[in-house]
Symmetry: C2
């Protein structure tokens, strides 16, 4: 296990842990699976499914040998993350117009989003270094997940957010888990620069998406999908594209499974961005070599509202390795797909629904065939954004195709019979 710079190819020992290469490039973790026995591991992963009270009951640590083999057991923290449902819902298949979709409901994670899969590994790593102060710059799912795991391990989390336009509603979960939420004068970029410069002096362990251990943990999502489907993946894996670290993790996880012979063919990856925040899709579709940041990203799907995704190079590698594609969808398309997912009894936050909206668009354009199969990864919980629910259902506009407003009625059989 070592750190590898995806830009200049430098390599560092894991014991010299750092967040970025001296060239400024992103680091990834390189593992050597040469000496692993796939059949033995497969049996082990199977046996651990029946665990409930050990860290190996986790849908992340179940695959520890592929995620963080060196970590001593005493540093394994867990909160029952992963182990999320994989649902085949006829109504969603029909809405998209494709043979079969599996919805992987990461919203069932303990803090309500897929971030838990990666965060549990980053915080465990930080603890193994002897640190007990954790930090990130985020108001969303990342900060809630960080706050939860920090508190679970009697550590303190520090969440830095710019004081302009801070939405208190979005940080309530993070505050309640006990994070110190610091509203500072400045921009996100200034916050990140500050942390990178002073984290050592302040004894802070940084859990932003550049942390390569988060990527290692997030690989478990595709491992779990593959295991649940008896190591036969569908034709497509569809993911939302915000910071793009999930795309990076997906590519890395698929590469692992293929290298180890757990799967015989690689599925193709489709990355869906919101139209108002689609710099990655723009780059890929226009065949550019460099990402042009979107300076004023704007989408209702707050987890996708990212104009300058740090992990775009890793995500591009994933597309290259899997013959992947990208697509963008409008906010209305996202919200209507979300209503279909919610009304199928699954439920998700807006960003998650971009996967179903994007898959529908790709089927309609013929880029994906209707007799193919797909997994859509639903990243966050329906309860994460209730304001969107209120607007869609109660203040519904003509674009809210599936609005379900409150009904006022007298309590008599004639009135009720006709509802």
């Amino acid at each position: 296990m070592q750190l590898h710079c995806i830009d200049c190819d430098s390599r560092y020992s894991i014991s010299d842990f750092k967040y970025a290469c001296s060239c400024g490039g992103l680091l990834e973790i390189e593992q050597d699976f040469k000496f692993l026995d796939s059949e033995y591991l497969k049996r082990k992963f199977e046996q651990r499914l029946s665990d409930r009270m050990t860290p190996y009951a986790s849908g992340v640590w179940r695959y520890k040998e592929l995620i963080f083999p060196e970590l001593e057991d005493r540093f394994l923290i867990t909160k029952n993350e992963g182990n999320t449902g994989l649902y085949d819902i006829e109504r969603v298949n029909q809405y998209v117009g494709i043979k079969k979709i599996w919805l992987k409901s990461q919203s069932e994670n303990p803090s309500g989003s897929f971030k838990d899969n990666g965060m549990v590994v980053a915080v465990s790593h930080g603890k193994s270094l002897g640190l007990d102060k954790f930090t990130c710059t985020s108001t969303g799912n990342t900060s809630s997940s960080l706050a939860m795991y920090s508190s679970l391990t009697n550590s303190q989390s520090y969440v830095f957010v710019p004081d302009k336009n801070i939405s208190l509603n979005k940080v309530l979960q993070t505050i309640s888990y006990g994070a110190k939420v610091i509203a500072f004068e400045g921009t996100y970029d200034q916050g990140i620069d500050f942390l990178e410069k002073y984290s050592g002096e302040l004894g802070l362990y940084i859990c932003n998406s550049i942390n390569p251990f988060r990527i290692e943990g997030q690989k478990s999502i595709i491992y779990e999908i593959a295991q649940y489907l008896r190591w036969e993946l569908p034709d497509w894996i569809v993911v939302p594209g915000g910071a793009l670290s999930n795309v990076s993790a997906l590519g890395k996880g698929l590469g692992d499974l293929y290298e180890l012979g757990f799967i015989n063919r690689l599925p193709r990856v489709a990355v869906v961005q919101a139209e108002g925040a689609s710099p990655f899709h723009q780059m890929i579709s226009k065949n550019k070599n460099e990402l042009q940041p979107e300076l004023q990203p704007k989408t209702v799907a707050s987890a996708l509202n990212i104009g300058n995704p740090p992990s775009w190079k890793k995500a591009r590698n994933t597309l290259n390795a899997t013959n992947g594609i990208t697509v963008s969808v409008t906010d209305d398309e996202i919200l209507n797909a979300k209503a279909v997912i919610d009304q199928s009894g699954i439920g998700c936050e807006p960003a998650s629904a971009s996967t179903v909206a994007g898959l529908k668009k790709l089927c309609e354009s013929g880029q994906i065939h209707r007799d193919e199969t797909a997994v859509c990864i639903l990243t966050g919980n329906l309860l994460k954004d209730t304001e969107v629910l209120r607007q869609y259902h109660l203040e519904c506009t003509e674009n809210s195709l599936f609005a379900n407003p409150l009904i006022k009625s007298k309590l008599n059989i004639e009135s009720i019979k006709h509802l």
Copy 2:
């Protein structure tokens, strides 16, 4: 399997399903475990732990033989309910002042509350009768759970709520899952009467807490706790007391485990009510034979804000069978216990925290010894009630002992170092 009236002892065949006895009494389901082989079942329950893609992966259907043995497999619906974490958190132990507490985090259920365990069985039963319209009167966890399972099975749910003082925020989850939420002119009691009178004519299957199949499903919570702890339960099981159906289910589940020899001794049960809505605690502590409804119940813990709990007789039976006790706690005690649970990285809604607050009070009064052990059942998710979080942390009063307000700071090392 038959229906049994807990008041007049009448019995009915399950094929003549009804919601109440002709004497007006509550019905419970009676099962005959005489011919069951406990050792065989124990092995079966163990094997099913590794299931992921069959209905037996459910933390409810895993115990189908004890819950609804007659139900054909084709009627089993599931959404990965149960399988929730059981956590031992040192900070909570210290706060309460007891040797060991397990927190059973039912908030990890798919709709975010323990109601899923019972609802999945009621909706499966309704479907097996050929019904596809489900109903309840509730604005809380019950209605969200009902709406989710109804939609999951392509059925329609109808949720009746009085139009006075309806909090739209509380029904957003239910609306988004696709329930028709009907605000009617009248009171809850009128709603219930209406449903009992006309459900047959309207083809509606009633999923209020009087539905005895919900109780059968909720028994799985204590089964799962027992199985995770290798069939050795702690000294006490602590539950919040609202409608009291959870107390009834707990007593019934404990009785099953004891009768089958899965456990060798019965733990004692402690029921915690909020001071402003504590008719059951009043009845028990004053040694009365009849419950005196609280006409104007008032507590911040909305799931406990019930003045006339329908299941009080069944709950009393549970106390009698387990040498149980009751206690009441103030809203401040609930909110401070909630802050401790949240800041331990677990998180819950206010009603859930009454268990930890009540256990603390019972330890302080000496009714529970400090070297005993307990399970506290956390019933609902932290995200269910964000208004309470806002008030406690951001508008904190002197009673908010663990308030965690937003911090404003300049971004320089001196300022940050001292946070």
